[in-house]
């Protein structure tokens, strides 16, 4: 039996309009989730370096749990498990955003902790010695410096989270991979379609890298 494979360009091009419908979901889940994750990251990252153990311990527990379990298990738990507990179904989009938020929040907590701890103790001492309160010292002296150092690892996390949304095809969110699966079910052009899917992910992540590099350059210019 002779077998010859040929890349079908026409099939690839034909799939694009249908695949593009998945992009808004991919972006909504990624950036919606990351935005909430960033807020969670600031809150739990700062709590994790608090002197009071009863603030530090719950934050550390949250971080360890969501870093230490697979995001696929997390989203399955939220989508299939949690409804049993709360007694009403959760729509796939909400489950996806929640999973990215909670998961990236744990990683961003570590980024925040690292960024804040990297700032020299002398900066805090200078702020306090000028009469600023601990809160004022933190937000006007420590945080702006720490945030600049956090930009590269935050960008990294954004890229990881964007790719993680591809797993949410399992709960039926119409994101990029899910759109691809549906399309392939009708056309059997798996190679071409997954190739285009991969290219579309790359387009998103590369644009983000480019933007971050510009932001970083501008942000660091003054230090």
């Amino acid at each position: 039996m002779e077998f010859q494979f040929q890349f079908d360009w026409q099939a690839a091009i034909d799939s694009i309009p249908f695949l593009l419908k998945g992009i808004p979901y991919t972006l909504l889940i990624s950036f919606g989730g990351l935005l909430i994750g960033f807020v969670l990251g600031i809150i739990f990252g700062l709590l994790s370096i608090n002197k009071k153990w009863f603030l530090r311990w719950p934050a550390t527990a949250y971080i360890e749990i969501f870093r230490g379990t697979p995001i696929l298990v997390q989203v399955l738990f939220i989508f299939y498990g949690l409804p049993d507990l709360i007694g009403s179904p959760i729509n796939p989009l909400t489950a996806g955003i929640a999973a990215i938020a909670l998961n990236s929040g744990a990683y961003i907590s570590e980024v925040v902790r690292g960024g804040v701890q990297s700032i020299d103790k002398g900066q805090t001492e200078a702020g306090l010695s000028l009469g600023l309160s601990r809160t004022q010292t933190f937000w006007s002296i420590i945080w702006p410096q720490a945030f600049r150092r956090m930009i590269p690892p935050l960008g990294n996390q954004a890229i990881v989270s964007i790719k993680d949304t591809s797993l949410f095809s399992v709960i039926g969110v119409g994101e990029l991979v899910r759109q691809g699966q549906i399309y392939i079910a009708n056309t059997f052009t798996a190679f071409e379609v997954y190739f285009v899917v991969a290219i579309l992910y790359l387009a998103i992540t590369l644009s983000l890298s480019l933007i971050l590099r510009l932001v970083e350059r501008r942000g660091l210019a003054s230090v």
């Binding site: 020299d120 002398g122 900066q123 001492e125 200078a126 306090l128 010695s129 000028l130 009469g131 600023l132 309160s133 004022q136 006007s140 002296i141 702006p144 410096q145 600049r148 003054s222 230090v223």
Partner: protein, 248 residues
């Protein structure tokens, strides 16, 4: 007249290490007190206690009429004291993300609620006074070490402190820049600022100090007028220390 700083039987430990032993010390308004001693003798720790950057374990400490309780008690007094006491650090500790002028404007605007216009005018006046009025819009990293330390002095002065603490202000500087910082401090002393200075600059101590204090292993071993301490030290530890630092 009330003392601006009063320490009575003050003790400080780092874990088991007894770093300040039963310190009795008063500083009067307008006085320039220079504290000398070997590294690790506790001299920096001593002045860091004055504005609460270090807590102490027992004894009494009153700064500018406010009692600073042991073990970080009395936060309210601490806040008040820090508004009245300026500090200059060995490593400058300027804020790298702010321009020189913004470094100076920050505390007056945040702590004293000065308007931007007032804070700006204060910053310009102080920068001129320390001789770097033309560097206002640069960032700290663009300045030499000596210039950075002068900005740090201006930043502390912007709060109009009643007492200035200097923690080895020239120890991180290249030799050719030490003079410009000492000049600013000398001016300040001449204008009547109350100062506590930890330094290894013996020439400065002799010239500017009203009183020199020698600390050895956490204890005040000797104090007096600079000429007396330098030319006729009574304690043999002071003699040994001075012969080592003045030999070269």
């Amino acid at each position: 007249m009330t003392h601006i700083v009063e320490m009575k039987g003050m003790n400080k430990y780092f874990g088991k290490l007894h770093v300040l032993k039963n310190i009795d010390l008063t500083v009067e308004p307008g006085e320039v007190v220079v504290i000398i001693g070997a590294s690790g003798s506790g001299k920096s720790t001593l002045i860091r206690c004055v504005n609460g950057l270090e807590e102490y374990e027992s004894g009494k400490l009153v700064v500018d009429g406010q009692t600073l309780a042991p073990k970080g008690g009395n936060q309210k007094a601490l806040t008040e004291i820090r508004k009245e006491v300026g500090m200059v650090f060995q490593q400058f500790n300027l804020f790298p993300h702010l321009t020189v002028k913004r470094n100076i404007m920050l505390a007056p605007m945040k702590v004293k609620d000065n308007s931007q216009v007032v804070a700006n005018a204060t910053a310009e006046r102080l920068l001129n006074r320390v001789g770097i009025g033309n560097q206002a819009d640069k960032y700290p990293s663009q300045l030499s070490g000596g210039q950075q330390q002068r900005v740090a002095i201006a930043r502390a002065l912007a709060m109009e402190p009643r007492l200035m603490l200097f923690d080895e202000p020239t120890s991180a500087l290249d030799p050719e820049m030490i003079g410009e910082v000492l000049d600013v401090m000398r001016e300040l002393a001449k204008e009547g600022m109350t100062m506590m200075v930890v330094t290894h600059e013996m020439g400065f101590a002799r010239e500017v100090a009203d009183r020199v204090i020698y600390i050895h292993e956490g204890q005040i071993v000797e104090q007096g007028k600079p000429d007396d301490v330098f030319d006729n030290p009574q304690n043999e530890r002071t003699q040994a220390f001075l012969s080592r630092v003045l030999a070269h």
